[in-house]
């Protein structure tokens, strides 16, 4: 059963590598912010999988806080780009 979680972690790492490449290459500010948003969601999923690998229930709370607060930074950057902060 633990091998399924290893495969999951490998796939998440590959997705994160592609997001980082887009962050470095991206021509506009919107592309970089999209990469940051995707990396936030990937990291929330990865934290939950790591909590299952470590077998500790209390570790899920970190992913919960990250999922609640992670989108505020993206919204602030978007409002700045819109010019209406």
């Amino acid at each position: 059963m633990i091998y399924i979680f290893y495969i999951t972690l490998v796939l998440l790492t590959l997705g994160m590598i592609f997001s980082i490449i887009r962050f470095v290459k991206g021509p506009t500010a919107g592309d970089r912010t999209v990469a940051l948003d995707t990396m936030t969601t990937l990291m929330v999923a990865g934290l939950v999988v790591l909590a299952a690998v470590f077998d500790r229930l209390i570790y899920v709370d970190v992913a919960l806080i990250y999922g609640v607060l992670g989108f505020i930074g993206v919204i602030v950057i978007a409002r700045y780009l819109e010019g209406a902060l």
Binding site: T28, D31, T41, A52, F71, I75, R79
Partner: protein, 125 residues
């Protein structure tokens, strides 16, 4: 292997595949809006499926795994479309229009409203 592990493992593999495809789409797509779609829609479905799968697998140990997993799923389902909508709106207000012009009139209806608003602003000045 119990039934919980089989169902949860299948959900986890499906979710991880969608997350990987979201990352790949961010690398491959040509435009900001296409990247936004690949990076938000596919990633939302993938994260929800993966977290539900982990909750189902660990439900044998303790029942509060599935409760916390459902709480995280609800927050992702609320917060991810908000940030996606704010970003696409910001890029539209910076006049970065989609590179592929759609033949469907309804898909680009917001552009006409936007240009009309801009014209009215200039007339007021």
């Amino acid at each position: 292997m119990s039934l919980y592990e089989i169902i949860g493992g299948l959900l986890s593999i499906i979710g991880a595949s969608f997350l990987f495809l979201g990352g790949l789409g961010i690398y491959r797509m040509p435009d900001v809006y296409n990247r936004l779609q690949a990076g938000t829609k596919a990633t939302t479905l993938g994260a929800m499926s993966l977290i539900l799968g982990v909750g189902v697998v660990k439900m044998e140990d303790h029942w509060s795994w599935i409760v916390k997993a459902i709480i995280i799923i609800v927050f992702i389902a609320i917060s991810n479309p908000i940030s996606s909508h704010a970003l696409s709106r910001a890029m539209y207000h910076r006049k970065k229009f989609p590179i592929i012009k759609s033949s469907d009139k309804n898909m680009d209806a917001y552009r006409e409203v936007f240009e009309k608003q801009e014209r009215e602003k200039e007339e007021k000045k």
